[in-house]
Symmetry: C2
Subunit: 347 residues, 2 copies
Amino acid sequence: AVATPAFAQAQPTITWRLASSFPKSLDTIFGASDVFSKRVAQLTGGKFTIRVFAGGEIVPALQVMDAVQAGTVEMGHSASYYYFGKDPTFAFDCAVPFGLNSRQQTAWIDQGGGRELMREFFKDYGIVNFLGGNTGTQMGGWFRKEVKTVKDLNGLKMRIGGFAGKVMQELGVVPQQIAGGDIYPALEKGTIDAAEWVGPYDDEKLGFNKVAPFYYAPGWWEAGPQLSFYVGLKEWEKLPKEYQAAIEVATYEAHVVMQAQYDARNPAALARLLKSGVKLRSFSKEVMEACYKAANTVMDAEAEKNAKFKKVYEPWKRFRQDENQWFSVAEAPLQNFMITRKGSNGS
Amino acid sequence: AVATPAFAQAQPTITWRLASSFPKSLDTIFGASDVFSKRVAQLTGGKFTIRVFAGGEIVPALQVMDAVQAGTVEMGHSASYYYFGKDPTFAFDCAVPFGLNSRQQTAWIDQGGGRELMREFFKDYGIVNFLGGNTGTQMGGWFRKEVKTVKDLNGLKMRIGGFAGKVMQELGVVPQQIAGGDIYPALEKGTIDAAEWVGPYDDEKLGFNKVAPFYYAPGWWEAGPQLSFYVGLKEWEKLPKEYQAAIEVATYEAHVVMQAQYDARNPAALARLLKSGVKLRSFSKEVMEACYKAANTVMDAEAEKNAKFKKVYEPWKRFRQDENQWFSVAEAPLQNFMITRKGSNGS
């Protein structure tokens, strides 16, 4: 028989603050922090409390990394490519154009040397980084007019940032930085011609389908965008090892749950969008090829001038090559067979 | 400042035994139990110890579920389709022919209603089930001769079990049940013509390439085979809730780590196999179509006569349909583009 534990009287009581980059309305991506913090509390008999704050509540959404670095908050949950402006190397912790898909990204971080490389990089910012979810391949965004050729991209004003913006720029796109809440009016007025956000489940909430009917796929700049938890290195080192273990293991759970939520919720959201009249389009082979070429140009150029970037880029490229070769053998052929099945794909 | 905790004096000291279905030589799939039990120990300050035993050490490899049900061990780690003979419904907790891929399976269990359905089913066996890893789409096995048409399957003696064996039987294959260690001599002597195992990383260890040169893909009977942890329901209910939380969260970590290990290790193993002279082959469209048709026949027939099976099969089929439709929009097209890239896929 097992006695009920009078749990851990000797453990320290600790309260931390976690700043998320995401609004509560994006329940899957914001929700990862809740899943995480609830589990940590549960594992520690309620002694280790991590209070979660939505984007903008105590820290501006796009400055979560800075806030953890400065010690304003002990933890953050963010997309590392938001910090592309400080150093494009951050993007490997999230997504780079034509990068790894969700499973490949997790494999790279967890078992492919990625964690070691990214931890070394994050150390300069006083941060320990952890897996914090993934959305899967995102959509290519909402367009007011069809884009059939590379020529159609010329002069197009598109809400798109970071690496993808730089790649698009090579093809004549004028990238725009616009916060989530301002995209709808900009599309409605025609101030911008296109905008990328996430995928059906999140996009539906913002109502883009009413002002930009063409919904493109795939989002080649986000094959498997990973979210990350950040912990201030100094705070991390002060934690008892059981609390460190609680953080570490709880990030894995949040990582699984977020991807599963997106996978389980996107299909119905896409069906609703299509029913509302959204016109689903695929980027043409010509556009994809041109974007791929431009992406390599932009990334190679960054590697030339940025030693930190190059240090990650070289092994990452080999990993990507190996993964895609392997996925081409069994995973992709079976997936391709399944999506042509009547009654299995809804056709 | 944080005091060092004199951890949890009041917690109970518990030692459990976990029987794995897998030999230590299969380090990824066996390793999941080690990852799991180490984390549980760490989370509980060493008070909750779960000793891991390899397949056959204290329980026969294919009787792990029975041992947990009987209370011989408190926990198990196994592939639920091993218990197909008791009830084919078990297979939904692992893999069924032309089933969900790794991400879809996780999404179904974690966020798509699968956990609730499978927990209800497992309750009759006195077991609480948890996610316990995935291998990703497996290979279609090793063949002594090429299989080009459905006719070539007729009379073929193949080591393949469970649902897949029943489906293959519809096409004239004579399915054989042979333990892992006996496959090599059977292939060598020609007692069997073909055998399926897992994928490059595991298959390489058994040396099948020396006796059956044709390596087929994809393993349509295992698109995303999930492993599971089993906990005896009575033991589960006696645990303090912090220990329950430790088990629950640690299974998520083991789940992520196993898939990441397979994804990170399969590419190099495949490259070595190809270098050794293995002839990679894809099942023809004709063979795939015939197998798909046969699989539906076998599964529909099971649903007709087995109410438990039908209860899972119906919502599962809808989930599969929704997932494949969604994956056809962004995930698969980008994956397909990437695997045709020079320098990205090694070609």
